[in-house]
């Protein structure tokens, strides 16, 4: 299976306390300062839409967002451009990008520490229905890859997988770690 267009979303804790508006100038700052290696284009504000994509930093290769889909607020990385490499490479690239973005938000003084990874919950999805329909065949094909990746990400600690089985939706799995990690720790795990 050609695994492309991986999305990784890290849920944030105390979502009710997060003022999503405050991330808008931060995202504009990332464009100004070319904070990320990817080409960043603009900021789209969808706060008016319930359970929507929130505030999106539109890029060429990928979008970053503080996303409220499903009323689950999180930092999402949505890979748009195809990537070379193995399935592990692509899972790692998307998750690492989401972790890095989350880490930047956690440490941005303008946000006063209000945005924090909840330590346990990661959602992985594939934004291409033709390559990865949301069905049993895809789940069977991808689960071994996901398990190998999660073992690395969580340094061998336990985790659970919960698939979204609504066939019209994107292939998506909620990953829940049995113990809490910081974004720094997960980045270190991926680097080792």
């Amino acid at each position: 299976m050609d695994l492309q267009h991986v999305n990784a979303k890290l849920l944030v804790r105390d979502a009710e306390a997060v003022d999503v508006e405050r991330v808008i100038p931060v995202f504009h700052g990332w464009i100004q300062e070319r904070t990320l290696e990817e080409i960043l284009l603009d900021v789209a504000d969808y706060r008016h839409v319930p359970a929507g994509p929130g505030v999106i930093l539109i890029g060429h290769e990928a979008n970053y967002s503080l996303d409220d889909a499903g009323y689950r607020l999180g930092v999402r990385y949505n890979r748009k451009a195809p990537l070379e490499g193995s399935a592990q490479d692509r899972l790692e690239q998307a998750t690492r990008a989401a972790l890095r973005a989350c880490n930047l938000l956690e440490n941005d003084s303008r946000l006063e520490g209000k945005i924090r990874f909840d330590g346990r919950n990661l959602e992985l999805s594939v934004n291409d229905r033709l390559l990865a329909s949301n069905n049993d065949a895809t789940r069977e094909a991808l689960e071994p890859e996901i398990r190998v990746f999660c073992a690395r990400l969580f340094a061998g600690k336990e985790y659970s997988l919960d698939y979204d089985r609504e066939p019209r939706r994107l292939f998506s799995v909620a990953v829940k770690a049995s113990e809490a990690f910081t974004s720094d720790a997960l980045l270190r795990n991926l680097a080792s």
């Binding site: 100038p25 008016h48 539109i58």
Partner: protein, 751 residues
């Protein structure tokens, strides 16, 4: 961009209508040719536009980030998809939805596309289309194939073609309609799509259908071809027909459509539309796109001559069986209910009661209800589209329609199902109350994504929506029913001319900085198919617009007469009084350290920082120009007062003088000794600002200068009320362009 793009052709083989499949294949080949440098960029631009693939803001590869202009280093480098439009720059895909009609499966397809190719949002436009933003051109053929397999085309959604045929979304169920116009609008849409007689227009051509004359749903008066259903009795037999209007349009200078025929029978509808298309293609302006809409041709020829030419063309048309073959089966596709009729329940909560009050209305069929799904700023997520598909399957025969107010309507809902329907909409975040009220604000994309946007129309709409939403149900009923419509520039995509409170984006320079503003447009009428157009009263900084709304609505509540509409109220108190009411809001805050004033809504970047003035020497010139432009603005306002007072000759002359004043202000920045002689002003303006293209707008070129030249040529004319009104609109635009020109010339080159 998508790794799966090439796979969709095989996957959907046999599932697409052959003509659409071939059409998409051709487009894909054109993409290849353009990439190989074998197709001219201008030709490619028009061909992609005719497939609905539009440009978007920053697609020239530059973006002002609030501090400086950044070059965007796209991987495809200098490859373009049109003049000054880089290949990799994200674009907008417009999707035609004839009469706004969609089925559940189509909603699901749109959800998939919004997720996979766009930013997860589908946007409903003011012409019942769907738009997806941030789409890569390489993804468009796969996307079009998926749409075609769902029975949807993007063909001729943009470009110089017949655009989406819009229609009243209540057709077939409205208590006030003459008859259901749905089959006629669909027949016209199908007939004109790709028709050879519609391929050589100088500009776009927009048709619209309305089931009645009194409501706004079809907006027939502001369309190139507006059709209003009527019935009449001939020899004791009731017959269907259409009032046919031509040459309407908003745009920079709006024109009311003219009555072409008071009763066109169905069998003549398609051939007459074809004859109009032929005349438009043959005689419409081609070189100057600023005069190329049908409204200018009708205006220049006069409706009588235009009618004569069309009828002559009609007589010479070769017969086409499609003109009438749909009529026999016109009623067969009419929507029917899924569920038995029932009574509307008692409201069980205040929220449900509010929603029932504003978002539902009875159908003409007893026991059935029309439900409006109010969308904030016309936006809906992919998840919500799927939920809506489930809902329309559960309660109706899977149908839904988009509206020109950027909402959905669900028809044929049994009254007995309303409580459950509300529960399901609520679960999907789709049960916002206030449909059709002051909080249901219409806005074009503005500076969010549009290349032409000057001010943030969506940012303002979101802010007004938030503020008004907090108190809308405590407001006076007359205020609740007002319409607010916002455009990011003068081009009227937000339909600001036909709102009670209309706004369009402009910029002004204050304290050396460009400041986002909106022109306040008052006097428009939404009902009666957009019965009259408002005029701009005064430009106010964006951040003061919420206070403008508060003051105007408060004054209306306090001082209106019994039964007086907002439009009538504004006409009674007069624009001079309105201006006085808003006067202090036109100025910047006394505390210039408040930088929020110099930023637009929801955008933390300093607004056009590159417009910062330079040096003391330039400062003197700036002051002089400012003074002259302010005088021009005062004069054009006085022209409005003259128009309001019925003195059309004075309105005409004052509007003309205001243009001279603005031109003089610019010329005097280079030629201090310029005399007051109009010939000399125009001559010097032409030589110094038009011939040198200094006055040219990046997008419309010298369009607004032509308004001055034309006014000067006809300075001694005796105007009709309509002509005086048009000149005032043109003078306002000329002055705006003079402001912009002056701002550009006083701006240091950005790095």
């Amino acid at each position: 961009m998508k790794a799966s793009n090439a796979l969709w052709t095989e996957k959907l083989a046999g599932q697409m209508p052959e003509d659409l499949a071939r059409e998409i294949e051709i487009f894909e080949n054109e993409i290849s040719l353009r990439k190989q440098g074998k197709m001219d960029e201008r030709v490619f631009a028009e061909t992609r536009l005719r497939r609905g693939a539009y440009g978007q803001r920053y697609d020239n590869g530059q973006r002002h980030d609030g501090k400086k202009v950044q070059e965007i280093a796209y991987p495809s480098g200098t490859l373009t998809k049109g003049p000054n439009t880089l290949w990799d720059a994200p674009g907008m895909q417009r999707i035609k939805i004839p009469a706004g009609g969609l089925k559940g499966a189509q909603l699901e397809t749109l959800a998939e596309l919004a997720e996979e190719y766009s930013d997860g949002i589908a946007h409903i436009t003011t012409r019942q289309d769907i738009q997806l933003h941030y789409v890569h051109i390489d993804d468009t053929p796969a996307m079009m194939r998926r749409l075609a397999a769902a029975g949807i085309t993007t063909r001729e959604a943009c470009g110089n073609a017949v655009r989406n045929v819009t229609a009243c979304p209540l057709a077939g169920v409205c208590r006030d309609e003459a008859f259901d116009i749905t089959p006629y609008s669909r027949a016209l849409s199908k007939f004109l799509l790709g028709h050879p007689d519609c391929q050589n227009f100088g500009r776009k051509f927009k048709p619209s259908f309305s089931g009645c004359a009194q409501h706004a749903c079809g907006l027939a008066s502001m369309h190139d071809l507006g059709l209003v259903a009527v019935k009449r009795v001939e020899s004791g037999v009731e017959k269907r027909g259409f009032q046919m209007y031509v040459g309407g349009g908003l745009g920079a200078v709006p024109y009311q459509a003219k009555l072409f025929d008071a009763f066109v029978p169905p069998e003549e509808l398609l051939p007459l539309a074809q004859a109009i298309a032929r005349v438009f293609a043959r005689l419409g302006e081609k070189k100057n796109r600023n005069r190329a809409r049908l409204k200018f041709l009708v205006h220049d020829l006069g409706i009588e001559k235009f009618r004569e030419l069309v009828l002559e063309e009609r007589r010479n048309l070769p017969h086409d069986h499609r003109w009438t073959e749909y009529i026999e089966t016109a009623g067969a596709e009419a929507e029917r209910p899924l569920r038995a009729p029932g009574l509307v329940p008692e409201a069980t909560s205040p929220d449900f009661q509010r929603w029932l009050t504003t978002n539902t209305r009875p159908q003409k069929q007893e026991g059935y209800v029309i439900v409006t799904v109010a969308l904030p700023l016309g936006d809906i997520t992919a998840h919500q589209l799927r939920a809506l598909a489930d809902i329309v399957r559960r309660y109706t025969k899977e149908t839904v329609r988009t509206t020109v107010e950027q909402n959905f309507v669900i028809r044929w809902v049994s009254g007995a199902d309303l409580a459950n329907l509300y529960r399901d909409l609520h679960a999907a975040g789709l049960a916002a109350p206030g449909a059709g009220t002051i909080v249901d604000i219409v806005s074009c994309p503005g500076t969010d994504t549009c290349k032409l946007g000057i001010s943030s129309s969506r940012g303002l709409a979101a802010e007004l929506r938030r503020r008004l939403g907090e108190k809308s149900f405590e407001q006076d009923a007359a205020v609740q029913n007002l319409h607010i419509k916002i455009s990011g520039c003068f081009n009227s995509c937000g339909q600001h001319h036909v709102a009670d409170l209309g706004f369009y984006g402009v910029s002004r320079k204050m304290a050396g900085y460009a400041v986002p503003h909106f022109q306040v447009v008052l006097g428009g009428e939404w009902d009666s198919n957009a019965g009259s157009y408002g005029l701009p009263v005064v430009a106010v900084p964006s951040k003061n617009i919420p206070e403008v709304v508060t003051r105007l609505t408060d004054r209306y509540v306090a001082a209106r007469e019994i039964g007086e509409s907002f439009r009538e109220f504004i006409a009674r108190i007069g624009k001079a009084e309105v201006r006085k009411l808003l006067d202090d809001l036109t100025r910047p805050p006394a505390d210039s350290s408040d930088r929020s004033f110099f930023r637009d809504w929801n955008d933390p970047r300093e607004y056009s920082l590159g417009d910062l003035g330079v040096g003391e020497c330039a400062g003197e010139v700036v002051s002089s120009a400012d003074f002259g432009l302010a005088a021009a603005e005062r004069q054009v306002f006085e022209a409005q007062l003259a128009l309001e007072g019925g003195d059309f000759a004075a309105a005409w002359q004052t509007a003309y003088q205001s243009m001279l004043e603005a031109a003089k202000a610019l010329v005097r920045s280079e030629l201090a000794d310029l005399a007051d002689d109009p010939d000399e002003i125009v001559q010097e303006f032409r030589a110094r600002f038009y011939d040198t293209q200094k006055f040219f707008d990046p997008f419309v070129g010298g369009k607004f200068a032509h308004y001055l030249f034309a006014a000067h040529r006809h300075a001694a004319a005796l105007p009709t009320p309509e002509k005086a009104r048009h000149l005032i609109e043109e003078a306002q635009l000329f002055i705006e362009a003079s402001h912009n020109c002056y701002n550009r010339l006083a701006t240091p080159v950005s790095v």
